[in-house]
């Protein structure tokens, strides 16, 4: 029988890359300690700062929010209702339930009600849904943080996310992205919050196990737009390596941060300007989100489709 590394009780979960197994209660303690260590090591935020936590309704963001609450941090949730059919409806319902049952403050932005649901953006701009989704999320996270006075924005990116992103950036030598791939992105504009990833050292498996052990009711279904996503291929390749060489993902990301990333720092973009339309950070006259909106609105004026009639 596999035993818990800490208390020698029967183990319920095996963490291969640490060559350890844990019972339920010890795993929860170890997980929260790992999150705390990442926050402190990278000076992500202090106990006095109010943290805006981006929550999708999935395991990672809800596990992050739960861990931050358990560790005593001051948090507010931010959820974007993306308008991706039933998937988004379930995601919003689970996020609202999570906040309600724990009496936590939650800001919800309903993009569908604004006529800016992800499928609408993709249809009008003829861009991939994931691209319009990413642009929208980045803008709305920044906008809501700024308008509500948050200086820190936390996301639930885990070790698998970071390793897959790193692999993609290396395979295509995206030096600008490599320069800024980090668990902490300091603000480079008056309207930008510091962005932090407290789960960057825990695997996707560990966040799922934590969510399961903590009784968190998260969305199990995948976003319908993620079918065939490149990131999933990178994750699969990394998990095949991890299966024969446990610790590969952690070493890949950690060693990049200590040895690789400094070499790319010269390729980092300078400070952004301000978007002429919305005032948020931008590397052109208009930010990516305002360009996206204008494409939708101009198309809407020329060919008014039913789904876009609520655009302001």
């Amino acid at each position: 029988m596999m035993k818990c590394k800490r208390c020698r009780a029967k183990a319920e979960v095996q963490v291969r890359h640490h060559n350890a197994a844990f019972c339920r209660s010890c795993f929860i303690v170890v997980f929260q300690r790992q999150v705390q260590r990442s926050i402190e090591k990278h000076r992500m935020f202090t106990a006095q700062e109010e943290v805006l936590v981006a929550v999708s309704g999935g395991k990672d963001s809800l596990a992050l929010w739960d861990a931050l609450i358990e560790l005593g941090y001051r948090t507010t949730g931010l959820h974007l209702a993306l308008g991706i059919g039933e998937y988004s409806q379930v995601s919003t319902a689970k996020t609202v339930d999570f906040a309600h049952h724990r009496n936590l403050p939650l800001i919800t932005v309903d993009l569908e009600a604004q006529g800016l649901a992800v499928p609408t953006l993709a249809r009008f701009t003829k861009r991939p849904a994931c691209a319009t989704c990413g642009t929208t999320k980045r803008h709305e996270f920044d906008r809501v943080a700024f308008e509500n006075g948050f200086k820190v924005l936390a996301t639930g990116h885990n070790l698998d996310d970071e390793a897959a992103r790193l692999l993609g950036n290396v395979l295509h030598w995206q030096v600008h992205y490599l320069a800024k791939q980090s668990p902490v992105l300091e603000s480079t504009h008056a309207r930008l919050a510091r962005k932090v990833k407290p789960l960057y050292r825990v695997t996707e498996y560990e966040t799922a196990v934590y969510a399961f052990f903590r009784g968190i009711d998260y969305v199990i279904e995948e976003c319908p737009n993620s079918v065939g996503a490149t990131q999933l291929m990178y994750k699969d390749a990394l998990n095949r390596l991890e299966a024969v060489m446990p610790g590969t993902k952690l070493t890949f990301v950690q060693d990049f941060l200590t040895s690789g990333q400094p070499a790319f720092s010269a390729a980092a973009d300078g400070a952004p300007q301000s978007c002429e339309a919305c005032g948020m950070p931008s590397f052109g006259t208009l930010c990516s989100y305002c360009r996206l909106r204008r494409e939708v609105e101009s198309d809407h004026l020329g060919h008014p489709p039913r789904a876009a009639r609520t655009i302001a």
Partner: protein, 64 residues
């Protein structure tokens, strides 16, 4: 044993008792990419699932 794969909601039946690691290998699933749940508990790779048991194998990898 009766297996439910999530999120596909696919039902599979396998005869005989097996180690979890062998079940995952048979289904072509990599360790660390799924949680194996029996009742309200997780089961580790070394544990044996009995012939009449019902388990849930839940994918933990998300993309996008």
């Amino acid at each position: 044993m009766f297996i439910t794969l999530l999120p596909q909601r696919q039902q599979i039946e396998i005869d005989g008792r097996r180690r979890v690691a062998d079940i995952l290998r048979q289904l072509g699933l990599l360790p660390g990419t799924v949680m194996v749940i029996r009742g309200d508990e997780l089961v580790t790779d070394e544990e044996v699932v009995e012939n009449g048991d019902t388990i849930e194998i839940r994918n933990v990898i998300s993309g996008g």
